[in-house]
């Protein structure tokens, strides 16, 4: 089949976000994630949210696309929220929660006026403060997903792998085999779609031999995959052998390589990248 399996979710574009050097995008994303986990309280988190929303608008990425990324973890989000909100000891010893939250600084003092818990049926009830904390966690997860999605929406996988390689290069001083790791990235980019396609082909071929993949209990279902996994692995080993020969033919040793592609460092990218990264690190520390 000539249909290539789509890999990554790059949305081509020419916006400022698209054009920013992927190395600095990676740097900013990393510091943004740092800020997400370091900020105490709503001010910092909402600031992150507003800035991220601005970046989405700047990149002209439809928010619909970002929302689609939330679907797989919807259950986790709902669970996180409910687990924080619901209580079975409404009216009981709830003062502990308030002091607990106040100690972490997660809930600003002005929320302290809320009642500890509201009983609905017997001791089952909701905790307004817990609900706030749940919201806080949910928003943090959503922002985490949105920022990484924005990175992949606005950078091609090739640009990303090149950027990772470039950021890693200084580690060569510490004898980290950066060339080999870079080559591994590149091979992964090539072979993940190929392997996915092959898995699908083998699955269809076994279905033609009346194999059933979606019936029965967990163990039966897991066993149904054996006739797919074994040929897949056998083929991967064969591929690996041939790939190694092809790389040896072209004198790959992982040492003494030169590079055709050289990414020119633009001063504007450098300034934006460093300022952005510093800003989020500072936000993480002070907010």
């Amino acid at each position: 089949m000539a249909l290539a399996v789509p890999f990554g979710q790059y949305v081509p574009g020419t916006s400022a976000v698209h054009r920013l050097d992927a190395r600095f995008k990676l740097l900013i994303v990393t510091s943004f994630v740092f800020a997400l986990f370091m900020v105490d309280g709503w001010t910092g988190l909402l600031l992150c949210a507003v800035l991220l929303l601005g970046a989405y608008l700047l990149a002209r990425i439809p928010l619909k696309l970002a929302l689609r990324g939330f679907k797989p973890i919807l259950v986790i989000l709902i669970f996180t929220f409910l687990a924080n909100t619901l209580t079975l000891s409404a009216g009981g010893d709830a003062g502990a929660l308030t002091s607990d939250l106040a100690a972490t600084g997660l809930v600003a003092p002005n929320f302290g006026a809320l009642p500890d818990s509201i009983a609905l049926i017997g001791s089952f009830g909701i905790k307004p403060l817990g609900a706030l904390r749940g919201l806080y966690f949910v928003l943090r997860i959503l922002l985490l997903i949105s920022i990484t999605s924005l990175l992949t929406f606005t950078s091609s996988v090739v640009a990303l792998s090149d950027a990772l390689t470039a950021l890693m290069r200084p580690l060569a001083v510490l004898r980290v085999p950066t060339e080999d790791i870079a080559t591994m990235f590149s091979i992964a980019l090539r072979f993940i779609p190929l392997t996915a396609e092959e898995a699908e082909k083998i699955m269809v071929a076994q279905s033609a031999r009346a194999a059933v993949f979606d019936k029965g209990g967990l163990i039966k279902r897991a066993r149904a995959w054996v006739p797919v996994m074994i040929p897949l692995f056998v083929n991967l080993f064969r591929r690996a052998d041939e790939l190694a020969a092809a790389m040896e033919t072209r004198c790959y040793t992982g040492r003494g390589r030169t590079h055709l592609k050289v990414y020119v460092l633009k001063v504007s990218d450098l300034v934006i990248g460093c300022c952005g990264a510093l800003f989020f690190v500072a936000a993480g520390i002070f907010l």
């Binding site: 033609a208 031999r209 591929r239 020969a245």
Partner: protein, 504 residues
Amino acid sequence: MLSFQEIGFRYTGAEEPALVDVSFAVEPGAYVVLLGANGSGKSTLARLANALLLPDTGHVEVDGLRADERATLRTVRGLVGVVAQDPDNQIISATVLDDAAFGPENLGLPRDEITRRCAEALATVGLLGFEERDPNTLSGGEKQRLVIAGVLAMDPSYLVLDEPTSMLDSEGRAEVLAAINALRARGHGILHITHDLDYAHDADKLLVLQAGRLVFEGAPDTLLQDEEKLIAYALQVGSGDVTPRQSPCQPRPLAPPDPSLPSLLLRDVAYTYSAGASFAHDALKGADLTVAAGSYTLISGHTGSGKSTLLRIAAGLLVPTSGTTGFSDGSAVTPGTVGIVFQHPEVQLFAQTVGEDILFGPRNLKMDTTGIVDSVLAAVGLEPRRFAQRSPFTLSGGEMRRVAIASILAMRSRFLLLDEPTAGLDAQGRAFVHRLIDELVRQGTGVVVVSHDLSEFVSRAHVHLLLQKGRLYVAGGGAGAGSTAKAGGSAVSATGHLHVAGGA
């Protein structure tokens, strides 16, 4: 000169040596074709050419340099480029340009030199303008030309091409052949390893490898006109081994089928991938197909014509977006009722023994399994006592193909679909496939073969259909005896009624 001197080689654990006392040379600028059946030791020879393998006895010498010495290894690999069969396993980088640059980068060349070499290599194989493309989006022929460019950018004096066209369709083959001619024009010495006699005619020198021994070395004409020798070297099969071909491009007449046996029917079948999305793609646009019991239909079409989709729907593995499939007696197509042999079916082998693998389908279908293994192994020409208990992964490529086909036959389907069943097989393997299909048809199985290789099947099938951009057309001779295609011999929209049935 690339010279092989008294080469002997045995794989660890193998009973028989892969190569015995092989000596020959490829002169600078010469085009040498090395022929041999599957399993004759050809690929081993290719890997020895630039020291990917080292011989047990003898040695390889390149322009006076020994290939097995560490000090000269890099130079030798720079001088001898090896291109193998499957392009997918030889492309390393995520863009075309990066992949062409991979070799020169490894040699530590300066940037402007890499740029120059890549441009030259890509131009030679006709891939200028493809620089930023993702290799996964290229056609087979384009991929293999990229592999050749990647080796060419190393600036080799010799290229060893190991079955470079055997995974490609006819279009891809033509492209790669053009690239080989461009290499010849540039003065590279070429060792082209193949089992396909078509490439032998304009060689400067012809070599034949049989069971690891070099049995012929000389000018092409002396061998190609000697049918007895070609048969002796397993490069061709005797005329008694296969059904004689009829007049070319004329399907065989079909005997009236037993009316009590149901036909396989596809009615106005269409399929759209990613329906509703902006990148929706119509793979099939309304196809009618009737396959009668005991009939043999050839469907030819290029990559991307919708043939895999059509096959999957006909085998009940894919539900069409619109249209219906079923048997003429009203029953539905379920897995097992229509057997399907996919292209390179050997990838589906998984069990510990050949026998277990063959019984996978019958057991899933809750069939009575007594005697199945023996009868289907015999049907594919493998002795049951020798093969039933062996691991499928210890078999040769040709044997694996036979076992994979046997595992489909084991389900005793009334209809059998085969996708490129002879791809990559040598003369004897192909002859086996033809004999098997003829026998199945004789026994009343309705057979559909999908292939881009017209010359191979057209005179053997009863009906020849053409699949083009998701539509089926009657190809030449469609209105002949036994076929009720209403559209005569001319092209007809597949939404028109097109019956491939017996009994005019």
